[in-house]
């Protein structure tokens, strides 16, 4: 079979048409594993169980994790796919549990599916070796009858943050045995705890630590992260403790080819390329027919189904039953049983191909595959590496192909491969002191245990407790703040969203009633107003109704030849400036701002030609949000100002708005967030600072750390913006770079070129 993969690779190398679309072909030679002995003090039963599984040695990083965790030091281990992550935490935990009958451990996985997979993996070690360690999954699906025994006698509790938040912590007295002897907390997939979720996570950890301390325990944290720019920093922000970083991966890997592929351009004006679905299907078919086990990652559930049914159809036409190639779709929404069947089929080889959403990206065990195809960049480089890593067993040849869509980030990546292959630049940011999030968790924490005067919660919180008392939620008496409300606070607080509930998007085409997505209400105003054309993962819908009060949006399929663009008027009021810096040839300021935004009109813009073919009115109330912003100011004589003044006056406003667009397109590459998580507004002359400048703010009430994290990333964002403009093949701007040209602007000259010129002369002005 490997021969056929190598012959396919050879054929591709000779295929001139194919090569003309390849922007980078990276060949990664095999890497030899680095090993260490099993620890001397390892319990005999555990040792035997490992040896029975054929594990007679550890990878070096597993051994380091063992020593560090046993030494009671918190750690984060960076684990690429298939590097033996689970042993990094299972080994020290099981050892400790075997040494002390009382000891307990808590495993936290970001999703339910992952926790079930973990339970299965753990059971294997434990049951094979007859270890007397009871492992219990405790989540929303756990029946009441099993909950009591889990609380009383579960030695390892596997759960997710949401259950911990609303089910376990508020009822901690029922878990007294557990918390009293809690030795380890395992936090897996720590890189997913960023933005809003991560900001909640820090507060959740504050609450666990507080309860553990109440019962006299002080658990050690073992964390795992995919490769990101700042695993240690992010983990330390979440744990608020010093953390040991283990990132010297000792696992071996086979020879690997990674191809970045940019489909041929169909419409140079708008920058439209051949579709990723089609390209992915063609490539997958070629591999599957050659007997290569292949996984395709698609970006939506619908596309998953589409691609897999297409593949099965094509294969059925080619082969009879004697040559079975089975391809299955895999996505969230399937029943656990169905998913387990597919996972098993992939491991035992009865299924040769799978088309999946990112559901298979995280740690679910499906064995090794030989090829992976990414139909579109999955939103972050760390995800892309995780998905690419699904292909490749320890010593065999593998192929990964990343097919770019027309989106700005995809285009940037395929055209700047060194970014993709260089040291991971994306960093995760959080803001645990977001007032809204912090106050919500203070309520939960006060419900759990009254706050003593002088007690901290990640820092001093007295003023906030006073505030809660003032509002009647807490009562201060005898030097303690007591929960003084009839409600159960965690019930109303979701860890996955900001202060406001998301708008649920419902497809109502032909009487359907299917939820196709969610959007924060702030973005919904800009994108989901009535009559808007909403493009959801490549499919076109028209918005029928936006009900902000009930957080619902009804859409139906549509096939019009235009898209809509709301005209957003943002009024920014600077509330407080708290930090100033001089970097990259400008003045950079951190501040609290109040964003008042209003959308009252939208444009209809024709596909292909970008003609403006009409306007419509939007009837939505004004929206106010307090948040954090980075403000990029161009003071006189600064390189940025000099460059800006070189732009002809009539083009200054268009250039500023294009600069804002391109920054919004590239910043997510460095801030590990989605495009909608940040807001950007350009000002030719800002009334508060009386200078030209750009606001980049967190698109969540109270802020989630992105604007504050932007400082360190700014220079990279500016360079990426310039190179995105330079490498984009469009003429006067398209959605992939600075945004499409709008005939209403009514100016002469090429705004894309002017923006390029502005950025280029600014950046060269700094280096001089």
């Amino acid at each position: 079979m490997m021969n056929s993969l190598s012959s396919i690779i050879k054929n591709l190398k000779d295929d001139k048409n194919f090569l003309s679309c390849v922007t980078r072909w990276e060949h990664i030679p095999p890497r030899i594993g680095k090993y260490a002995e099993l620890p001397d003090d390892l319990n005999e039963t555990i040792r035997n169980s490992l040896v029975n599984k054929g594990i007679e040695k550890l990878y070096t990083h597993q051994r380091i994790c063992y020593e560090t965790a046993r030494d009671k030091r918190d750690l984060v281990v960076v684990t690429p796919t298939a590097s033996g992550k689970t042993l990094c935490y299972n080994l020290p935990v099981l050892q400790t549990l075997m040494e002390s009958e009382e000891a307990r451990a808590l495993y936290l996985f970001p999703t339910k599916a992952l926790s079930q997979d973990q339970q299965a993996a753990l059971n294997e070690i434990v049951l094979d070796g007859d270890l007397p360690v009871k492992i219990c999954t405790y989540d929303g699906d756990t029946p009441g009858s099993l909950r009591i025994s889990a609380r009383k006698s579960g030695r390892i509790i596997i759960t997710n943050p949401d259950m911990l938040h609303s089910g376990i912590l508020p009822n901690h007295p029922k878990w007294i045995e557990f918390f009293k002897s809690l030795k380890y907390i395992v936090l897996d997939e720590v890189h997913t705890y960023r933005g809003v979720f991560g900001s909640h996570m820090t507060n959740l950890i504050r609450r666990i630590k507080r309860i553990a301390a109440f019962y006299g325990s002080d658990p050690v944290f073992i964390c795992c992260s995919a490769t990101i720019g700042n695993p240690r920093e992010l983990t330390e922000r979440i744990l608020e403790r010093e953390t040991v970083l283990v990132d010297d991966n000792g696992s071996p890997s086979g020879e690997k080819h990674i191809i970045l592929y940019n489909p041929p351009l169909l419409d140079p004006v708008q920058g439209i390329r051949r579709g990723i679905v089609l390209e992915a299907q063609r490539m997958a078919l070629k591999l599957l027919k050659g007997g290569v086990k292949t996984i395709v990652f698609a970006r939506s559930r619908i596309k998953t189904e589409l691609i897999s049914s297409y593949l099965n159809k094509s294969l059925a036409n080619q082969y009879n039953e004697n040559f079975r190639i089975k391809v299955e779709p895999y996505r969230g929404g399937y029943l656990p049983g169905e998913r387990r069947m597919i996972e098993k089929g992939l491991r035992d080889g009865s299924i040769s191909g799978v088309v999946s959403t990112n559901a298979l990206e995280l740690g679910i065990d499906i064995g090794g595959l030989d090829a992976s195809i990414l139909a579109g960049y999955p939103g972050s480089i760390s995800s892309a590496w995780q998905q690419a890593g699904r292909a490749g067993r320890s010593s065999q040849l593998s192929l990964s192909m990343i097919i770019a869509s027309s989106s700005p980030v995809d285009q940037y990546l395929t055209q700047n491969p060194e970014y993709f292959f260089g040291a991971s630049p994306e960093s995760g940011f959080i803001d645990p002191d977001n007032l809204y999030i912090l106050i919500d968790h203070l309520k939960c924490a006060a419900f759990e245990i009254p706050f003593r005067k002088g007690e901290t919660f990640g820092g001093d919180v007295e003023e906030l407790l006073d505030y809660l008392e003032e509002n009647g939620v807490l009562r201060f008496t005898a030097d303690c703040w007591h929960w003084a409300d009839r409600s159960y606070p965690s019930e109303r607080i979701s860890l996955r969203s900001g202060a406001e509930e998301n708008v649920v998007i419902i497809d109502t085409t032909k009487g359907r009633h299917e939820v196709i997505g969610e959007m924060d209400s702030h973005s919904a105003r800009e994108l989901l107003f009535e009559e808007a054309i909403y493009i959801h993962k490549g499919d076109q819908y028209k918005v029928l109704k936006l009900d902000l009060e009930n957080h619902l949006c009804q859409v139906e399929e549509s096939t019009v030849n235009y898209y809509t663009d709301s005209i957003l008027k943002t009024d920014i009021k600077v509330l407080e400036v708290d930090e100033e810096d001089s970097v990259s040839g400008l003045r950079l300021v951190s501040s609290d701002i109040l964003v008042r935004s209003e959308v009252s009109k939208y444009k209809k813009i024709k596909f292909q030609t970008h003609e403006n073919i009409g306007y419509g009115d939007i009837y939505l109330p004004e929206y106010e949000m307090h948040t954090r912003s980075a403000v990029l100011l161009f003071p006189e004589n600064s390189p940025a100002r000099i460059a800006f003044e070189k732009v002809p006056e009539e083009l200054q406003a268009p250039v500023m708005s294009r600069f804002a667009t391109v920054v919004r397109n590239t910043a997510p590459l460095f801030l590990l967030c989605g495009r909608g998580d940040i807001g950007v507004a350009g000002r030719v002359r800002d009334p508060h600072f009386e200078e030209p400048g750009l606001f980049l703010y967190d698109n969540y009430p109270g802020g989630i750390g992105l604007a504050d994290g932007f400082h360190a990333q700014m220079e990279k964002v500016l360079h990426a913006s310039l190179s995105l403009i330079e490498s984009c093949p469009c003429r006067e701007g398209c959605p992939s770079c600075v945004g499409p040209c709008d005939d209403r602007d009514g100016f002469s000259g090429n705004p894309k070129e002017a923006t390029r010129f502005f950025l280029a002369s600014w950046l060269s002005g700094i280096t001089q």
Binding site: P173, E448, G459, N471, R486
Partner: protein
């Protein structure tokens, strides 16, 4: 942590812009310093923030109930402790506390109810210690829904305050009440039972859902007007518990006939306790047309090895028209007990061709049985 220092300032700015972090909507008033509790009749502050009063009733209970189905054997009524709590919320989570506990006990011809009331959080530790004085380890506790709610909540409070929890034996009257009245009442809340079964008229009573806010309103705003309604609500609950226990005892002892209850359920309960009155009760129910009672009784006979009685019942029930349960039981009886495979086969055919076509699942089962019977018959031949 440099931003942390600025949190207070940010909070102030938010408030100024009218963008307060979201809180539960509620009116906030300046707290009054004096609570005015001393003006409430009959209460004494026995510890800081812990108040006590005692109310005396005539004892509605007998000295003992020798044939009790709900109390431990030979339980003396004077050793019972009736209790009920009023709490600050509905969950048993760590942030809910009982602010009022009523405890009822027999003293000779009287039924005394002690009420302990928290006028603020610091009184809790005293409340718990006081409870520990009253709650003897050997006593039996009588509650309504205490097994799943009040006792958990009290345990939680003991744990949160670092006190040891005495293990208590609890008689929760919710369970026998459900048996007796589930089919008769729309719900089995204590209030419904009082009204429709015990004939107690509470008059204007405070709805349970409003109780937490009465305490908070007292705590935060010094409002005492509604407190007395909560106190009497709790008092009535305790007294009703005693009446309820007495009534259940009379019913299970067959003394009361004028009160409606589910006779079939009582029959089952009596049988479960191996009491022969259960048999009569179920027979009477069957005569009144309740076949379920007959089914239950026949299975009881079967379990006891009283085959004749069981077979009689099955035959009798079948007399009044086809009865699937009885025919199937008879078929089993003929096959396994009498080894009369021919008769058993006839009965199975009777069901298969019976007026009510069996569900596919049952049909499969019957066909399987039929096959086995035919096989056995063939073997015998």
């Amino acid at each position: 942590m440099k931003r942390r220092e600025a949190l207070g300032g940010r909070l102030a700015r938010l408030k100024k812009e009218g963008l307060n972090p979201p809180l539960n909507e509620k009116e906030t008033k300046n707290r009054q310093e004096a609570f005015g509790l001393s003006r409430l009749e009959g209460w004494t502050e026995i510890n800081p923030c812990l108040w006590r009063r005692s109310v005396r009733y005539d004892n509605p209970l007998d000295e003992s109930y020798s044939r009790s189905l709900v109390l431990p054997a030979d339980q003396l009524v004077k050793e019972l402790i009736f209790y009920d709590t009023e709490t600050t919320g509905l969950s048993t989570g760590a942030g809910t506390i009982p602010f009022l506990i009523g405890i009822g006990m027999i003293h000779k011809e009287y039924f005394d109810v002690i009420q302990l009331f928290l006028s603020d959080y610091p009184g809790e530790i005293h409340l718990l210690k006081e409870l520990n004085n009253i709650f003897q380890e050997e006593a039996v506790y009588v509650s309504y829904n205490g097994k799943t709610y009040d006792s958990h909540l009290i345990n939680t409070r003991f744990l949160m305050n670092g006190l040891k929890v005495n293990h208590r034996f609890e008689v929760d009257l919710l369970y026998p009440s459900r048996r007796l009245w589930k089919k008769i009442l729309t719900d089995c809340r204590l209030g419904s039972i009082e009204k429709d079964i015990l004939g107690i008229n509470r008059g204007p009573d405070i709805p349970g859902a409003e109780i937490p806010d009465v305490w908070f309103d007292f705590l935060k705003n010094g409002k005492t007007e509604k407190l007395e309604r909560v106190f009497s609500h709790n008092l009535q609950d305790i007294y009703s518990l005693a009446i309820l226990l007495h009534t259940i005892e009379l019913i299970t002892d067959g003394i009361v006939t004028h009160i409606p209850y589910d006779r079939f359920a009582l029959g089952k309960l009596l049988l479960f306790h191996k009491r022969d009155e259960g048999i009569e009760l179920l027979e009477r129910e069957l005569k009144r047309g309740n076949r379920k009672a007959g089914e239950f009784l026949s299975l009881y006979w079967k379990r006891m090895g009283e085959w004749e009685k069981a077979v009689d019942l099955w035959k009798e029930m079948n007399k009044r028209g086809f009865h699937y349960f009885s025919v199937e039981e008879l078929a089993k009886y003929y096959e396994h007990h009498l080894k009369d495979y021919g008769e058993a086969l006839k009965l199975i055919d009777k069901i298969l061709k019976g007026p009510v076509p069996p569900s596919p699942e049952i049909k499969d089962k019957l066909l399987h049985r039929k096959k086995r019977l035919i096989g056995r018959l063939a073997q015998r031949d």
